[in-house]
Symmetry: C2
Subunit: 202 residues, 2 copies
């Protein structure tokens, strides 16, 4: 199974195979979660060789991004947060994600999120948020031990609402506030959820 594949752009043709792999990936990620969905099992469901999945889509994270029709690999963004001290995560997340939403990458990202919100089964969206977005945050904010999952999910609730009001509903004045204004107002909300004293039973 090759891993160091070179992805020299999408090939013409073979779109049926690509679509079959993406369909299988969506079903598998939704059914068993990101970690348990192996490239091998997705390849088997799509009736192709695992090497072809890697060849077309690269890493499992990249495959998931493609299955969600995300224009960028979310892991690239999450990697940026990994080097930020926990005490600065709140404002940093706002300063990072809001400009992405507002950029050329924004429209397809928001379209993907809207499509997930509209689907009958939100399992794929849940898998994405729980297994990819929040996974690396949870252990970092697990103080006192046992509170990390709720802290991360509370932050996700604020961030999801900011996305919905600013980019989907385009609700003013949220839609017209600057990144700095949002960092200064919503950033501390995330920070409190991550590291503040919350009345959570461990």
């Amino acid at each position: 199974m090759t891993s160091g594949n070179t992805r020299s752009g999408r090939r013409p043709g073979n779109s049926g195979t690509r679509a079959a792999i993406l369909d299988a990936a969506r079903l598998r990620f939704a059914a068993v979660g990101f970690d348990k969905a192996s490239i091998r099992s997705i390849a088997t469901a799509a009736g192709v060789d695992p090497a072809l999945v890697h060849h077309y889509f690269g890493t499992k994270h990249e495959l998931f991004a493609a299955a969600l029709e995300l224009p960028i690999d979310p892991q690239d963004i999450l990697d940026r947060f990994a080097v930020i001290p926990v005490s600065e995560l709140g404002e940093t997340i706002i300063r990072t994600v809001v400009p992405i939403w507002d950029s050329d990458f924004g429209a397809p990202t928001i379209a993907a999120f809207r499509s997930l919100l509209g689907s009958e089964d939100p399992a794929l969206a849940r898998t994405f948020i729980l297994d990819v977005v929040l996974k690396s945050i949870r252990p970092r904010v697990d103080s006192p031990p046992g509170t990390g999952a709720r802290r991360a999910a509370l932050a996700a609730s604020q961030l999801a609402g900011l996305l919905v009001t600013r980019k989907i509903l385009r609700l003013d004045p949220i839609a017209s506030m600057t990144v700095e204004e949002l960092a200064a107002t919503v950033g501390p909300t995330l920070q409190r959820y991550f590291t503040g004293t919350l009345p959570l039973e461990p």
Copy 2:
């Protein structure tokens, strides 16, 4: 034009007229907002007498709730908040709306919200949030003067995100947290947006 109509349940038949009124109402509310959309203009667009609109749907708020397919008149809930001191609004809102979302009224309310999120033009949803939900809150939290609209919209962003994560995505642990736990964790977020010291230019 009668106003003291008695609404003795939905009549059989006339469903075409009701549907025409609701379609006209949706278009009009989305186009000009709640305040400027008169019952008269909606009746004219639907080709019926204004009295018939009142007869079928009651007040303009009730017509709007019907147009949004909401199972309850949102004004009934907003009226409860009007008598709560501003300093207690954050937790009170959580303690009021989360049990409604979790109740039998919840499923149709969430279905309506999902349908609004999925529609190509979010104007109807914007009108609902700006002209109905936030209207009475804004002047109450306008301190220093000029910040009320942003304070109310920031609170709406957190509340929308709580609805999306708890009821649409059903994201654990947000989905399984108790009302009291949410009141104690998310309530202070709303309260800070309403009355906290925020770096907002008046």
